[in-house]
C-alpha cells in the first residue's frame, strides 16, 4: 500500500510518527513521511500527488478536534473519498467517538503494538477487495477496535 504518514498542526514531536513509518515500511508498505507541522491543505495535496491509499495522522497537541475534521472534510471535497484515514497520538477517550464520525477508521493510542496497525491495514486491503466501504468518504459503520 502507499501510505502518507503526516504530522498536522504545531506540535513538534514526531518520534511516534517515525516509529509508525518505519514499522509500516518493514511491513512491506511504501510510506511517504511529511515531516512536522503540516497544514491540512498541504496534507491533502500530498495525498493527492502521491496517489496514496491511506493517510495516517499523528497528533499530540490536543488540536485533533480541529485538524482531523478539517483534513477529512478536505479529502472528501477533493473527491478523495476512497482514502483510508487512521489516527494516532494523544486522543482522549471522550473525543474518540467524534473522531470516528469524521470518517477515521482506526485510532491507535500509546501502547499500541505496531503489528496491530499492520493488521488493520491488512483488513482494509481485504475490504477494498470485497468492495466494502473503508474510505473517509464512504459509508461509515466499520471501524477497527
Amino acid at each position: 500500500m502507499r501510505i502518507v504518514v503526516a504530522k498536522p498542526g504545531l506540535d513538534g514531536h514526531d518520534r511516534g510518527a517515525k516509529v509508525i513509518a518505519r514499522a509500516l515500511r518493514d511491513g512491506g508498505h511504501e510510506v511517504v513521511y511529511t515531516g512536522l507541522r503540516r497544514t491540512p491543505s498541504e496534507i491533502i495535496r500530498i495525498v493527492t500527488d502521491e496517489d496514496a491509499t491511506a493517510l495516517g495522522l499523528s497528533t499530540l497537541s490536543g488540536a485533533h478536534d480541529v485538524l482531523i475534521p478539517k483534513i477529512c472534510a478536505g479529502l472528501r471535497d477533493e473527491g478523495l473519498d476512497d482514502v483510508i484515514v487512521f489516527a494516532g497520538g494523544i486522543i482522549p477517550d471522550r473525543d474518540r467517538e467524534s473522531v470516528y464520525e469524521q470518517g477515521v477508521r482506526a485510532i491507535f493510542g500509546p501502547g499500541t503494538r505496531t503489528d496491530q496497525i499492520l493488521e488493520f491495514l491488512q483488513e482494509c486491503s481485504e475490504r477494498i477487495e470485497k468492495e466494502e466501504p473503508v474510505g473517509v468518504g464512504q459509508e461509515s459503520g466499520w471501524r477497527w477496535e
Binding site: R2, A21, R22, L24, R25, D26, G27, G28, H29, E30, V31, V32, Y33, T34, G35, L36, R38, S41, E42, R45, I46, T48, D49, E50, D51, E78, G79, L80, D81, D82
Partner: protein, 289 residues
C-alpha cells in the same frame, strides 16, 4: 467521480487539462506496468544525485522555488530504495522540500525502486513523457548516489548535476567509479561550512587533470541560506552535454533496461537454483535466460 472507473484515456485527458489526481493515478498505473500511448514530446529533464546527507533535497527545493517564480511548472520525481527484505520503502524526501506542497505549479512524487536493479529507471522514461505531455516544463529526478545502480537513474535525464558537501570527498570516490563522468554540473553545498571552498578546489583540480575537453562546472552554494542559487540555475539552464556524455548516458539506459529484463525474465528462480548447486556455469545461465 471515482477514479477507479475511469479508463486511462479519460485519465489522460483530465490530467492534460490539469487534474492532479488523474496525473497521480496515471503515474501509479505506469509504476504497475501499464503502457500508455502518448504523442511525441520533448521533455526538459535534470537528474540530481550525490551521497546521502549533502542536501540534495534542500537544494532541489531552492531550484523549484526559483523556477516557480519564473513561471515554470516543475515536477520532481524522487527515487528512494525499497527494502530488499520487506519490499517496503520509507520515502522522506519531500519533508525537506516544503516549497513543493503548495501552489499549482509544482508536482512532487516519491518513487520506490521496488527491487529493480538500476532503480525504477526503465519506468522513468514513460513517467517523464507523461509529465511533459501534461505541461510540466521542468522535470527533476532525484536519487541517492550511493552506488552505481542507484546513480544510473540520473542517466534518464538530459542533464545531470552531482551534489556533494564540504570535506566529504565522496565525489572523488564517484570519480574512481566513473560515475562522475555523467555529471554536467557539480554543486558543492553547505558553502557556509568550513572546508567547502577547499572541497570545491580539490574537485576542480582533479577535474582539470582529466584529458576531456569539457569538464563540468563546479559551483559553491548554500541551499540552506539561499546563496549561489541564481548562478547555479543559470548554469543548469545553459549547460550542454558533449556527445560523448550523451553516449555514456545512453549506455547506462541500455544497461538499466537489460538489467530489468534479466531480473524479470521467466525461469530466473530455477536458473538461480542451478547456479547455487553449481550444476551450470554463469555463461550457461545467461544463455538460458
Amino acid at each position: 467521480m471515482a477514479l477507479g472507473v475511469k479508463s486511462s484515456t479519460e485519465l489522460l485527458e483530465s490530467a492534460k487539462s490539469g487534474d492532479r489526481r488523474s496525473l497521480a493515478r496515471l503515474l501509479t498505473l505506469i509504476e504497475g506496468g501499464e503502457e500508455l500511448v502518448l504523442p511525441n514530446v520533448s521533455p526538459w529533464t535534470l537528474g540530481v544525485t550525490g551521497p546521502p546527507g549533502v542536501g540534495k533535497s534542500t537544494l532541489i527545493g531552492r531550484l523549484v522555488s526559483h523556477w516557480k517564480g519564473s513561471g515554470e511548472r516543475v515536477a520532481v520525481l524522487a527515487v528512494d530504495p525499497s527494502s530488499p527484505r520487506s519490499g517496503g520503502a520509507l520515502l522522506a524526501d519531500r519533508m525537506r522540500m516544503e516549497s513543493t506542497d503548495s501552489g499549482e505549479s509544482v508536482y512532487f512524487r516519491s518513487l520506490a525502486t521496488r527491487g529493480h536493479p538500476g532503480g525504477v529507471s526503465y519506468l522513468l522514461s514513460p513517467m517523464i513523457d507523461l509529465l511533459s505531455f501534461c505541461g510540466w516544463s521542468r522535470i527533476v529526478i532525484e536519487t541517492v548516489g550511493s552506488g552505481q545502480a542507484e546513480t544510473r537513474v540520473v542517466a534518464f535525464a538530459d542533464r545531470v548535476m552531482m551534489v556533494d558537501g564540504p570535506d566529504r570527498g565522496d565525489i572523488i570516490q564517484a570519480e574512481k567509479a566513473g560515475i562522475i563522468e555523467l555529471a554536467d554540473i557539480i554543486a558543492i553545498n553547505k558553502s557556509d561550512k568550513p572546508g567547502a571552498s577547499r572541497a570545491a578546489e580539490s574537485i576542480r583540480a582533479s577535474l582539470d587533470l582529466s584529458s576531456s575537453e569539457s569538464v563540468p562546472e563546479v559551483h559553491l552554494v548554500s541551499a540552506q541560506n539561499s546563496i549561489g542559487i541564481e548562478g547555479l540555475v543559470s548554469a543548469i539552464e545553459k549547460c550542454s552535454s558533449p556527445p560523448w556524455r550523451n553516449r555514456l548516458r545512453i549506455t547506462e539506459r541500455l544497461i538499466s533496461k537489460w538489467d530489468s529484463r534479466l531480473i524479470l525474465s521467466e525461469g530466473l528462480d530455477d536458473v538461480l537454483d542451478e547456479l547455487e548447486t553449481g550444476s551450470i556455469t554463469l555463461d550457461e545461465a545467461l544463455d538460458r535466460l
